[in-house]
């Protein structure tokens, strides 16, 4: 996917003014948060579970090479093929090639953010009929939009917009008025059922890859993942190399964390373990089974100061709890991954300059970190990105010099005391007391807020005076 991250400011601004988007975001806002909170309360010692989840991921990443080899051997042992994709181009080529060799005409896809990352859909659509089977993904495929949330890709769409889309694309099935969710779901199901049956190749992502069994684990609430992998002749799993977990026990721990953090569920409606191609005694399953393991910069992160980010299990809790994401939605971020996790990841993929706003458009309030199931220190990672930007001079000169000047004053206490007293006197002389409506040189503040003025003389000056006379 091409990055529009450099347009963050304009996109955020447009998002704040987009009435339908704001309706959709407003509706979604509390739901995820309240459901997660209830699930966490219900669970009991969720902190211990987070601790364990963090440990499992840290351990796996430390020994990633050996777990990857084990996983590959297990998949091969079960008649599957493993493909190593160094970057987005090679991953796309591998997948398109598998589809060609299978003589595919149509491809059905389960939800995969790695697929978004490598721009898979355009490559497939050029040669094959390609249909998304996750309801949210299907909706945005019709709308020709990227996902705006990593687990709820169409969260930015209102029911009215979805009705209009379905009316346009399902030719004549709609009556024009806004339909209830169950009616829309039934309609999508009818259309998709035909696509499932016709598909030659099914492509899914994976939530986890289990090294000891060679299984790919998939969680969904719609069952579309299962249909994508049992009906077509060929099944391709696309997953980043950080999805590895050592064994089924560890996988179970992370599943507990994932579903509660993502949707507040104890378990998603479907949890599927895919292990190899169809065996002679199996009632169903694909004839051919492929796993494409995607690096695309992940091994670089493994060795640098952003390695904590590789623990991410893509639950979306950081998005749901982020006040910036809640205000503007996912598209404003301009690339595949939005919200706090995206603000850390996107610069790794598209570059710090292209994504220059993302690490900065955050108040470092830390709510994301407090809900992250694997305790990724997101604010700290964002600050590290800011440090890189500062060192690489991606920060504008006005800010740089402003900070240098402030440091110059702050490290000279006598001068600082004199300068602050002067500033206070100046502000009070020009604007009086109370608040200023407009403040020259501080338009960024006073465009939307009154500016509370000093009470008159600094605390330090008054304190010295008082103690001298008192």
């Amino acid at each position: 996917m091409d990055s529009r991250a450099h347009l963050f400011r304009q996109q955020a601004s447009a998002a704040l003014r987009d009435v339908e988007l704001q309706q959709a975001l407003h509706k979604a806002r509390g739901g995820f948060v309240d459901k997660r909170a209830a699930a966490v309360r219900e669970f009991g010692d969720f902190e211990a579970l987070r601790e364990r989840g963090q440990q499992i991921k840290q351990h796996t990443l430390r020994h990633l090479d050996s777990y990857l080899e084990r996983f590959e051997a297990e998949v091969q042992g079960q008649g599957g093929q493993v493909h190593w994709a160094e970057d987005a181009d090679s991953a796309r080529d591998i997948i398109v090639d598998i589809c060609r060799r299978a003589g595919a005409r149509s491809v059905i896809k389960g939800k995969t953010m790695a697929g978004e990352e490598i721009g898979l859909n355009p490559a497939l659509e050029a040669e094959f009929e390609t249909v998304e089977s996750d309801l949210g993904e299907y909706i945005i495929q019709l709308a020709k939009e990227p996902p705006s949330h990593i687990i709820a890709p169409a969260v930015h769409k209102t029911r009215a917009q979805i009705t209009r889309l379905f009316d346009t694309h399902h030719g004549g099935q709609g009556q024009g008025e806004i339909r209830e969710a169950p009616a829309l779901v039934a309609e999508a199901r009818r259309v998709l059922r035909e696509k499932f049956l016709a598909a030659d190749v099914g492509i899914t992502g994976a939530n986890f890859l289990v090294a000891e069994t060679g299984s790919a684990v998939l969680v969904t609430n719609e069952g579309n993942g299962d249909l994508s992998l049992t009906l077509p002749r060929v099944h391709i799993v696309l997953a980043g190399i950080e999805k590895l977990v050592p064994n089924l026990d560890d996988c179970a721990t992370l599943l507990r964390l994932l579903s509660r953090s993502a949707t507040g569920q104890e378990l998603t409606a479907y949890t599927t373990f895919v292990t190899g191609a169809r065996r002679p005694q199996d009632p169903d399953g694909p004839e051919e089974y492929h796993v494409v393991l995607l690096d695309n910069g992940r091994s670089t992160m493994l060795g640098n100061e952003f390695h904590d980010m590789l623990r991410c299990i893509r639950c979306g809790a950081c998005l749901n709890h982020c006040p910036v994401y809640s205000a503007i939605g996912g598209h404003a971020y301009g690339w595949v991954y939005p919200g706090p996790m995206g603000a850390v990841l996107t610069p790794q993929f598209v570059g710090l300059d292209e994504a220059r706003d993302l690490p900065n458009a955050c108040t470092l309030n830390g709510r994301c970190q407090s809900v992250c199931p694997v305790r990724i220190p997101l604010p700290e990672l964002l600050r590290k990105l800011r440090e890189r930007q500062f060192t690489q001079r991606i920060v504008d000169p006005k800010t740089r010099w402003g900070l240098h000047l402030w440091r110059y004053l702050a490290t000279r206490p006598r001068l600082y005391r004199r300068a602050t007293r002067l500033a206070v006197r100046f502000l009070n002389r020009i604007h009086g007391r109370g608040s200023a409506r407009r403040l020259p040189l501080a338009g960024a503040w006073s465009a939307s807020r009154d500016f509370p003025l000093p009470q008159g003389d600094t605390f330090q000056a008054r304190w010295r005076k008082e103690r001298k006379h008192g």
Binding site: L16, I328, A410, T411, G434, A447, R449, Q460, W463
Partner: protein, 256 residues
């Protein structure tokens, strides 16, 4: 506790640059509360700004220089207390700035261990149980982010508020959600910042409280400035002003 029960602890008030410049009343309120809690309060003359603006802007070098300045200014006191969770959060983060300088690291760790947000210090360290203050009306309390999540300040301000006569605390929805101040964020992304303030203000107004309190002047100036721009009648005070019975003068942003 460092200090013995007999000798009053020597406490440095780290007043913070915002309080120093804009609202000295908060500093005097903090002094009154600390003295009521049996402390000997001093105001180190060499204190300036904790260094948070450069630290959060990725300007590590300037942040280090300002941290050195603060470490030197606060040397020798039993405790360092500030009416701000965010500045104390910064002081607690100093060790991260000096990971490769053993001498300074030790000093930074020592300072971090002695540093407390005001309400946290009063309740957790000094065990202050009785305060004498009166503030007629209903208030709502905004949990500023650094205090809440970095320092665990949540119960302390509420426990103290419960003692203020004639005050009723009306909790708002999403009290733990950021108000959109975020230091330089508020001027770098003013539209986003204002939207976040509006969400906060909706929650404040929904409580029907006539006053909003918080423990950080940055958040308060931002919220008060936006409240005034929207012509909302809610007043804003720093919690120290109410606790010290010094919330009689003009509220933040009000004319005298």
């Amino acid at each position: 506790m460092r200090a013995t029960n007999t000798a009053p602890p020597r406490v440095a008030l780290f007043v913070t640059c915002l309080v120093d410049l804009f609202r000295p009343n908060v500093g005097f309120a903090a002094v009154r509360l600390l003295e009521a809690a049996g402390c000997r309060v001093e105001v180190p003359e060499a204190q300036t700004c904790c260094g948070q603006p450069p630290y959060n802007s990725g300007d590590r070098k300037d942040a280090q220089d300002m941290a050195r300045q603060t470490i030197a200014a606060c040397r020798g006191y039993d405790y360092v207390v500030a009416p701000s969770g965010s500045c104390i959060g910064m002081l607690r983060d100093y060790p991260r700035l000096f990971a490769h300088e053993p001498d300074l690291l030790a000093e930074a760790q020592d300072l971090a261990a002695r540093s407390f947000e005001l309400t946290q210090f009063l309740v957790d360290v000094r065990g202050l149980e009785r305060i004498e203050a009166r503030y007629p009306g209903s208030v709502t309390y905004h949990d500023a982010c650094s205090g809440l999540r970095q320092l665990g300040v949540r119960g302390q301000p509420r426990a103290l508020l419960a003692q203020v006569e004639e005050t009723r605390l009306e909790e708002m929805r999403d009290t733990e959600v950021c108000c959109g101040f975020g230091g330089t964020f508020c001027v770098k992304y003013p539209e986003l910042s204002a939207r976040m303030a509006d969400d906060k203000i909706d929650n404040i107004c929904a409580t029907g409280a006539d006053t909003v309190l918080a423990g950080d002047l940055g958040c308060l100036m931002h919220i008060a400035g936006r409240l005034r721009r929207l012509d909302k009648p809610v007043r804003a005070y720093h919690i120290a002003e109410v606790l010290a019975d010094m919330a009689y003068g003009p509220a933040i942003g009000e004319e005298g």
